[in-house]
Structures are given as C-alpha cells and as structure tokens.
C-alpha cells in the first residue's frame, strides 16, 4: 500500500479535540474548540494577536492544562495521562517547533548533539549510529554535514530553524505542533523552509497543527484552516475555500486586509 493509499484509507482521526476551553481568570484564552485531525493533514490556525491560537496550541501540546474539554490522541486521553506519559509522548510521537529556534534548541550543544538528544532520550546507546542518524537528518533539512559539530550559535536564523525541525523529527513523530515557524525569518528563507516542510509532510505522512498570523503561509502549507477570534473558532474548512470565499465577517475582514504584493 503506498503512503497515499494508507493515508486516504484511514478513517480514524489521529487527534480529536472536543470543547477545549482555557480561561485566564475572567479572560477567555480559548473557548469550546473542537476539531479532528487525520494522518497526513496540515491544519492551520489563524487569527490576530489575542485570538487564542497560541493558548490553543499550548493546551494541545500539553504545555498547559485546559479547564474543559478533551484531547484524544491515537485513542489515548491526553489530559488524563500521567505527566510522565505526556512528556514521553512529547519526546517521541509529538514534536513542537517554536517560533524562536532558541527556545527549541540547546544553544550550547553541537548540532549533532541537538539532533541526537531525542534518540538518546529513548535509549540509543551507540555513538556511531547516533551520529549517522544526525548526519542523515541534517542532510534532509539541507544543513551541510560538516557543520554537525558546530553550535547553533554559529548558525543563521534559517539554519537554526531547520536544525530545530531536524531535532524534532528524528524520532519519527506523527504529530507536529508549529508556532509561527517562519516568523522572524527573511522572506526568501521562509520560502525554503515552507518547501522543506511541505516535502516532509508529504514524505513522512506527518500531521501538523500550525499556528500563524501569516495567511500566505497557510495557503501554501495547510489543507484545512481554522480562523479564531476572541478565543473562539469563527470559521473552518478547506484552506483555499476559507481564504477565497470567506463566510464569517471576521474572516472576510482578515482576508481583505492582507496587503497584495
């Protein structure tokens, strides 16, 4: 069965979110968010600052505890899980790409060490094998193999971001959370990163939840789109449909506000 057949044959969602709510005192963080995510699918979450998208992402990734709602990953109740199990999930099946690569890398550890860490965390104990896997992954994110011993401090922003992606993907996660992965990068560097991400999603059958305020990024990367405003999802659907034929007032406003280049 080809990857595509495998992916399209799956009828069970990889991730099911129901009624997810997180409040900060009297303020709404995110309210009553529900969606399904299937293998090989990229879900974009857009909205302006304060829309609740970052709160949603951090609840999904297990960084914060929601007040209400359920998160079911691969049949397991993520919220009811022990912290140890959740952390383990975060090191193996899940990945989290931070907006600022410094938050997702160990700056004082070499590129190879950064990529190898997740392998060592799940018990890899052969130096040669670890180094070979690290070299392989650096190649996949288009970082020269001879930079394997350099520290991320010596890398450009785009390279750091690609290193963060390699570090996250080395254990073959199925679900990747991304928080503005191209924010802060030069426009030309963004393009390269987007293409890399598309290729990885396709080749590895990854499911991705990507939070961004950049509509151009979601158009290129996401299959489906959720628009958030004031903590709530106001519209969701096929990415190009939501962007080209927006139904909700806020979405229409958002789309029409984008500067055309």
């Amino acid at each position: 069965m080809s990857l595509i057949e495998k992916v399209t044959a799956t009828d069970t969602p990889l991730l099911t979110v129901a009624g997810l709510t997180k409040n900060y005192g009297a303020r709404i963080g995110c309210a009553d968010v529900s969606f399904d995510l299937f293998p090989g699918e990229v879900l974009g979450i857009v909205g302006e600052s304060g829309s609740g998208k970052s709160t949603l992402l951090s609840c999904l990734a297990g960084h914060q505890r929601p007040d209400l709602g359920q998160i079911i990953y691969d049949g397991q109740d993520v919220i009811a899980m022990s912290e140890s199990a959740r952390r383990r999930l975060g090191r193996t099946d899940w990945a989290y790409v931070h907006q600022n690569p410094r938050d997702g890398l160990r700056m004082g550890v070499s590129a190879g060490g950064n990529v190898g860490e997740r392998l060592m965390a799940v018990g890899a104990r052969h130096y040669g094998d670890i180094r070979a896997a690290a070299t392989d992954w650096l190649g996949r994110v288009e970082i020269d193999a001879d930079r394997i011993d350099d520290r991320p401090r010596a890398f450009s922003g785009g390279m750091q971001q690609r290193l963060q992606i390699a570090r996250n993907l080395v254990t073959g996660p199925r679900l990747v959370f991304m928080d503005e992965p191209t924010g802060g990068l030069d426009v030309s560097v963004q393009a390269r990163l987007l293409d890399l991400l598309r290729g990885l999603v396709r080749d590895l059958g990854l499911s991705v939840v990507i939070v961004t305020h950049d509509l151009a990024v979601v158009r290129l990367l996401a299959h489906r789109l959720m628009v958030m405003q004031g903590g709530r999802v106001v519209e969701q659907g096929l990415t190009d449909q939501v962007l080209d034929d927006p139904q909700h007032a806020y979405t229409q406003l958002l789309v029409s506000s984008v500067l055309q280049v």
């Binding site: 595509i4 393009a191 290129l220 489906r224 659907g237 080209d244 034929d245 229409q252 029409s256």
Partner: protein, 227 residues
C-alpha cells in the same frame, strides 16, 4: 463524469451591512467522459465562479456538483482534498507556487502527492516541460520570474502531469503563441481521448472550436434569468 444540478451561489458581504449578492441560480450542466464543454458568456457573467464552485474553492449555496461519486457541494474538506489529488485537476489562470521551488519540482508535485517515486515524477515532469517548449535551462529555476506565457505553460504542465478523469481549464491558451497553443490543444485532445471530462473557459474562439464539443452560456444561470 461532471454533473451539476440546480447549483446556486451568492456572496454575503458581512462588513457591508450584510449585503447579499446572488451570482448564480439554477445551474444545470453535465460533462460526459471524453467530452469537452466550453463555458461562454461576457466578462463577469460567472464562468470562473462556476469553475471555482466545481473545484470546491467556492461554497455552493444550493444544489449539487457530482464528480464521479462525490458531491462537492456536500463533501467534507478531506473528501475534496482526496478528490483533487487523483480525480479532479485544475489549471487556473494564475500560477501560485512556493517561491524558490524549481519548475521541475512544481510540475512533479502532483505525482509525488500520489506516491510516485521522485525519480519517475521528475522524469515525467521533464518530458512534459520539453513538450511545452520550456527550455531545459529553466527547469532548475523557480517559475516566479518567468514570462506570463512561460508561467502559463508551467501551470498547464502541472495540470496535465496526471491523467485526471475530470479537468477544469481556465483560459489554458491565453498568453500563448500559436506553436504552444497547438501543443496545449493536443494535450486536451489526448485527455479527451483517454476519457477525461473537461470543463473549460476559452476566450480564444479558434481554440474553442478545435477542442470543445459543446458550449454552455453561463448567462443562463444568472439569477435574473432564472427568475
């Protein structure tokens, strides 16, 4: 293969007092396998709107759009994505790509989505690009810097790289010289010959007469006409 029944569409401008603009009503249209139907009508009459509705880019207000067994008007986003992957192709007027991706990879992409090996996908892309007279030296470059005609041909290559049973073509021969126009018309005829159902917009009357088996005037579907 493509069957449109009683399709209607309106736009609601939420930020302008909720003004409702009906643009289509009572559209009925069927395209059989091997047939090419051309949409005609003045600018703004709704030709592109109809295409976008079939593609799933616009939400239908009512009616049905059957592509094989799938009703696009009712389908979930996942189902539409699956449809677009192997059964429905679309050559739009504009080339929208990730910047900096080489032309060869842009064209090969639909095949990679279908699980074709990278080597084979690239080879088929190159063959098609050569046929469309895109010189080899351009294959490694991003098409964003190409001329209008070159971009259009890259768009076409991407749309024809896979044998879609249903195809939507929006002005496929605009900005092309006669040589390349001929190649495109050849491609369309080949698609028809293998049983594809094609819906197209051709401003070029000659092209229309060569490939279209029937013409449908979309002004029949404007709301005043239906009323």
């Amino acid at each position: 293969m493509i069957r449109i029944e009683n399709l209607s569409k309106s736009f609601t401008l939420q930020n302008q007092g909720g003004a409702v603009i009906p643009v289509m009503a009572g559209a009925n249209l069927a395209v059989s396998p091997g047939e090419c139907v051309g949409l005609i009508g003045p600018s703004g009459a709704g030709k592109s709107t109809l295409m976008r509705l079939v593609w799933g880019n616009y939400l239908a207000a009512g009616g049905a759009i059957h592509i094989g067994a799938t009703d696009v008007a009712q389908a979930t986003p996942r189902e539409i994505i699956a449809l677009r992957r192997d059964r429905l192709g679309y050559v739009s007027q504009f080339l929208r790509v990730v910047p900096r991706v080489p032309t060869r990879d842009v064209v090969a992409e639909p095949l990679l989505q279908l699980g074709v090996s990278q080597g084979e996908a690239r080879l088929r892309a190159e063959t098609l690009l050569a046929r469309l007279n895109i010189p080899q030296r351009l294959w490694d470059l991003s098409p964003t810097t190409f001329s209008g005609g070159e971009q259009q041909r890259v768009n076409i290559a991407r749309g024809f790289i896979h044998a879609y049973p249903a195809l939507l073509l929006d002005e496929p021969t605009a900005s092309l010289d006669s040589t390349n126009r001929a190649v495109v018309l050849e491609l369309i005829n080949e698609a028809k010959a293998r049983g594809a159902a094609i819906l197209g917009i051709f401003h070029d009357e000659d092209a229309r007469s060569i490939v279209c088996d029937r013409l449908v005037d979309v002004t029949e579907f404007t709301p005043q006409a239906a009323a």
